[in-house]
């Protein structure tokens, strides 16, 4: 039965104000069922307050063979890191 169902990627928001994070994938007949399955598979221990699902086939992934062209140019640009600032202790989730 699973063979007939497309794969969905699941994203869960752990708390209000946080972003949705990819938590895994599952099989479902359609998007509505995917949300219900995600609820049962990935939020059983109160992991989330919001669920996104998207068909895995709708995700366009970068090509590992292009990794050098895509990511190498950033390597020598340390000035892009925000390491020149002191971060106050009170700031969470940064």
């Amino acid at each position: 039965m699973n063979d007939d169902w497309p794969l969905f990627e699941v994203f869960i928001r752990a708390r209000s104000g946080l972003e949705h994070k990819h938590v895994g994938s599952l099989h479902a007949a359609d998007a509505r069922m995917a949300v219900e399955h995600a609820r049962d598979v990935y939020t059983r221990r109160q992991e989330g307050v919001s669920i996104w699902v998207v068909r895995s086939s709708d995700i366009l992934a970068s090509d590992p063979e292009e990794a050098e062209a895509l990511f190498e140019p950033a390597r020598d640009k340390v000035y892009r890191h925000p390491t020149f600032y002191a971060i106050p202790d009170e700031v969470k989730n940064l």
Binding site: N2, M33, H37, R39, D40, V41, R44
Partner: protein, 263 residues
């Protein structure tokens, strides 16, 4: 809250009646939860396996709260485990529909859908009960039941409006199980007594809403509503179909073989 401190209308009803009334609700959840638990490891897909187990655990959770309360009303020192595992079939007061065998996935979905829709009406009404403890339990269970109904109604539509085979199977299950639905809405003396003091709802008054919902989902699922069958089933009075005893044998055999066992 202790039973004695509940509202004045509540104290007018004898504790023995209230005990049996709460047992009816508790046993229906317990038996249905145990039935769903039989699916674990056998569901058509991993995701459905988890979904059915989740619903089963919700139902058993409801049963635990209700059985604990029933034990307090009875006042003979029986806790949830004693009531769940040390009673025989004639002492169980669940609706007969809950004990019907799983059959195929479609049959389990039909049974679930009919009972989810009933429990939603029941818990909604009971959340306004004059019995504050019962109202609290019902309010919690209502949230769970709304999700159960969404799940079972969703599957009923998929199967009914699915392939020729899935349609034929759920229609057959619906025709077979429909006769057990009358019991859910035909009040007996105990139901009337509970309704009179505002503890329980007027069962007959719940029926029109239940039927409207059932009909809407059946229409979407392209399924035929079976004709009315006025056969009175008496699960709630302890008269059961032959299926309950077999189910209880499996459910109870461990705690009866090893009393007080822990792990």
């Amino acid at each position: 809250m202790t039973p004695a401190s509940s509202g004045s209308a509540v104290t007018l009803a004898p504790a023995g009646s209230r005990f049996r009334h709460v047992l009816r609700l508790a046993d229906t959840s317990l038996v249905l939860g145990q039935r769903l638990g039989e699916w674990v490891g056998h569901a058509p897909a991993l995701e459905e396996d988890l979904a059915l187990a989740n619903i089963a655990l919700d139902l058993i959770g409801q049963a635990r709260l209700l059985l604990t309360y029933a034990g307090e009303l009875e006042g003979r020192g029986r806790d949830e485990d004693a009531l769940a595992f040390l009673r025989d079939a004639p002492e169980f007061l669940n609706a007969s529909l809950a004990e019907q065998p799983n059959g195929d996935f479609g049959q389990s979905i039909v049974r679930q859908f009919l009972l989810d829709a009933w429990q939603r009406e029941m818990y909604e009404a009971l959340s306004r009960s004059t019995d504050a403890r019962l109202a609290e339990i019902a309010a919690k269970a209502l949230k769970e039941t709304r999700y159960h109904l969404r799940f079972s109604a969703g599957w009923l539509v998929r199967l009914g409006d699915g392939t020729a085979q899935s349609h034929a199977r759920v229609q057959k299950a619906l025709d077979a199980l429909w006769r057990f639905t009358d019991e859910l809405f035909v009040p007996d003396a105990l139901d009337e007594q509970m309704a009179a003091c505002g503890i329980g709802p007027d069962l007959a008054a719940l029926r029109p809403r239940w039927e409207r919902h059932i009909e809407a989902v059946l229409e979407e699922a392209t399924l035929e509503r079976p004709p009315a069958q006025r056969y009175p089933w008496h699960g709630k009075r302890g008269v059961h179909t032959e299926h309950l005893g077999h189910m209880l044998a499996q459910m109870q055999h461990l705690p009866r073989t090893f009393p007080g066992a822990t792990w």
